[in-house]
Symmetry: C3
Subunit: 177 residues, 3 copies
Amino acid sequence: MILTGPDIAFEQARGRLTLQPFSGDRVQPNSYDLTLGPTLAYYTGDVLDTRAENPHREIEIPAEGFVLRPDRIYLGSSVEEIGSNHYVPIIRARSGAARLGVFVHVTADLIDIGSVGQCTFQLRAVEPVRVYAGDRLAQVTFWGVQGDIVLYDGKYQGSRGPQPSRIHQDAAAQVTA
Amino acid sequence: MILTGPDIAFEQARGRLTLQPFSGDRVQPNSYDLTLGPTLAYYTGDVLDTRAENPHREIEIPAEGFVLRPDRIYLGSSVEEIGSNHYVPIIRARSGAARLGVFVHVTADLIDIGSVGQCTFQLRAVEPVRVYAGDRLAQVTFWGVQGDIVLYDGKYQGSRGPQPSRIHQDAAAQVTA
Amino acid sequence: MILTGPDIAFEQARGRLTLQPFSGDRVQPNSYDLTLGPTLAYYTGDVLDTRAENPHREIEIPAEGFVLRPDRIYLGSSVEEIGSNHYVPIIRARSGAARLGVFVHVTADLIDIGSVGQCTFQLRAVEPVRVYAGDRLAQVTFWGVQGDIVLYDGKYQGSRGPQPSRIHQDAAAQVTA
């Protein structure tokens, strides 16, 4: 089951989910709006590789906004810290961002139960789009679970700002295992 | 919980969700098929902007079909009116469309509870793809909720045809608030 | 409700869902990791068409990996056979793949209840990315249902390896109906 807006506010108030900072006017019928933080990251290599470390650069979005290029994957983050030890958060775009052709994730929308931090957005624009820090691009929904809960204790815990991929650590782990 | 196909048909029959027109052969094991309406919209500017109105143009899909260009975001709509005051609709591509590289949304898949209208598709093709009005590109699933329900009463209510982004109204609202 | 990792393992052990081969270290807090099989398929035509058969070619990923081109949709498959007669599987990318700009589906993430087989990935890379057979690119989640269950009995049942789109069979079915 997906939490309604009133239930998101209720569960936030009694500490069963994290939405920090919280503002009542961000509560939607079944979700909570998330805003784009000021920092973006992108990779500098010509060919990325799932089994190598991929160098990246960070930029700050200027006041006049920043134009996302369609041929590049950008990592951003939510201003808000989000998470829950009781529900599974799933992110998605707000309709207005998506109707401009801005993906806020690249099919990785689920946040593990027990993970808390600023959410990394995987931003991809179909056409060039100027975005601004503070844009309400995304929203988070919360979902009830079935079964015993084992909380997340992984490599992205407590994230602040955009976090590049660490998928190459999987291969290294397999080689040394 | 996600409704099964038989439950979608049952809830439609007793008026707890809207699927109009409804046809029993569109019911799938956990979803209902949606067809592409005759009108597409696309933006005419070179750089889109989350804080400006973005001019757009509408076209009718001719009988011989229309080729989606990979560098453009198209807005389409479902023939069907969909919605529910009791369940949350979430849209996705049918497998056959996705296997041709046609996205039917750009990470905005959730329809607010209480919103009723033709669904706006955010269409993006990885390679050029010819599509036709009436293609069964998408499907809608319905999800149970936890908590008190406050129905949607927002800016896209009662949509007919593809609706361009109104995200720039967020910024205007903040400036004047 | 979404199954927790412990419940995925429990339901797998008592035969209520298929994850084959199964390894306990692939269980995540709310999902199970899926690996990329050795075969990719892509279309050879310049313009794809929802109402025509679209010729395709298959390749084997070499040991040194294969670079996904951004202008092409690739079909891959999971090594694992997955499915359930009791829960609805939904796939998504692992975070590490998505943060490199690799989509593992093109908005078709839901697997019909009763469908069992290797899962077809719809792969699309925002930038060129080298991938390898065995990469843990994706994950599957399982969701509880409401209503009577009618099991899937469709055209992709028992899939092995990447399966190209058969959407053109819809149109043929309508013409002859």
